[in-house]
């Protein structure tokens, strides 16, 4: 019944997980930019792939990197999970290595334990300026 098929075309792809209801399989949506022949503009074209995820560590919304399997695992599953690039709700900025959310870092970047005396006096002075004084009526 199994016909010898050619090698899988997409060797490495990056996509977003849209479903994990299947056991040990993640449904991943991959978007590529395709040129419209008349408008000459690039639009996202989506395609869903099924990826083998043995530890079921994917959650809906993760950005994952898939690797093509040497041969198909089943009729639709031709890829496996290589790496979770960005975990939803727990994005780590690869440049600094710190957790972040949107355009701000979640943890304090400056090290507040190693402040010197001069720093603390300077900061307390600044805080004094910011204190709101009650106006006498």
């Amino acid at each position: 019944m199994s016909v010898p098929r050619g090698a899988i075309h997409a060797k490495w792809i990056v996509g977003k997980v849209i479903g994990t209801k299947m056991q040990k399989t993640a449904k991943v949506r991959v978007t590529r930019l395709v040129l419209d022949p008349y408008l000459l503009k690039f639009f996202n074209k989506r395609k869903t792939y099924f990826a083998h995820d043995p530890l079921q560590q994917c959650v809906v919304g993760d950005i994952v990197l898939l690797r093509a399997l040497p041969e198909r695992r089943s009729k639709h599953v031709k890829h496996e999970l290589a790496e979770i690039v960005f975990k939803v709700g727990n994005v780590i900025d690869p440049i600094t290595g710190k957790p972040c959310a949107g355009t701000r870092f979640l943890e304090n970047l400056s090290d507040s334990e190693n402040l010197t005396e001069a720093d603390t006096t300077y900061l307390s002075e600044k805080l004094q300026e910011l204190k709101v004084c009650s106006t006498d009526k």
């Binding site: 792809i13 978007t31 590529r32 994005v91």
Partner: protein, 171 residues
């Protein structure tokens, strides 16, 4: 009647073919993370606006994904065939610098591109005639200075096969 959109020159074939970044065959995926606001991400935004169409036009088999406002710092990430990942920090860089850097690290060099162009030219002979898909011209009548196409201008009597055959039969 002008074209629609902001800077529709980006949607012309001439602009698209002017892109000079052709990735090496090992590059499979390119991911761009940038922010829609902020001075540091300005170069990345310009890169996405101006240069991404050119790059995708020249590399139709590379998957390009754009992520907005996911991390505070803008960066590019390339996934190569051997599993290697290349991280390029583009904070505080102009879009020209970004394209130059990407061309230097992962682009095919000019010599390789010229060599490939030469190989492609060798396959097709420019002096043959035939269907537009495989040859430059379809018929000799297309060339200036040659006899016009008999579909539009009838050939003189002496050149027609009918007349020549009749002459031969008489003689």
């Amino acid at each position: 009647m002008p074209m629609k959109g902001r800077l529709p020159v980006r949607r012309t074939l001439q602009y698209l073919s002017q892109g000079d970044v052709v990735f090496k065959s090992s590059v499979k995926v390119m991911t761009v993370n940038y922010n829609t606001a902020g001075e540091l991400s300005e170069g990345a935004r310009k890169f996405v606006f101006f240069n991404i169409p050119q790059i995708q036009y020249k590399n139709p088999w590379v998957q390009i994904m754009l992520f907005r406002n996911m991390t505070p710092s803008p960066f590019l990430r390339f996934y190569l065939d051997n599993g290697e990942q290349v991280l390029v920090d583009v904070e505080d860089k102009t879009n020209k610098e970004i394209t130059e850097h990407v061309k230097k690290i992962l682009g095919k060099s000019k010599e390789t591109l010229e060599k490939e162009e030469g190989e492609r030219k060798k396959l097709s002979h420019p002096a043959t005639f035939g269907p537009k898909k495989y040859h430059l011209r379809e018929c000799m009548c297309e060339i200036e200075g040659q006899a016009p196409c008999p579909a539009f201008v009838p050939l003189p009597k002496e050149m027609r096969g009918k007349y020549k055959a009749a002459m031969k039969n008489e003689a």
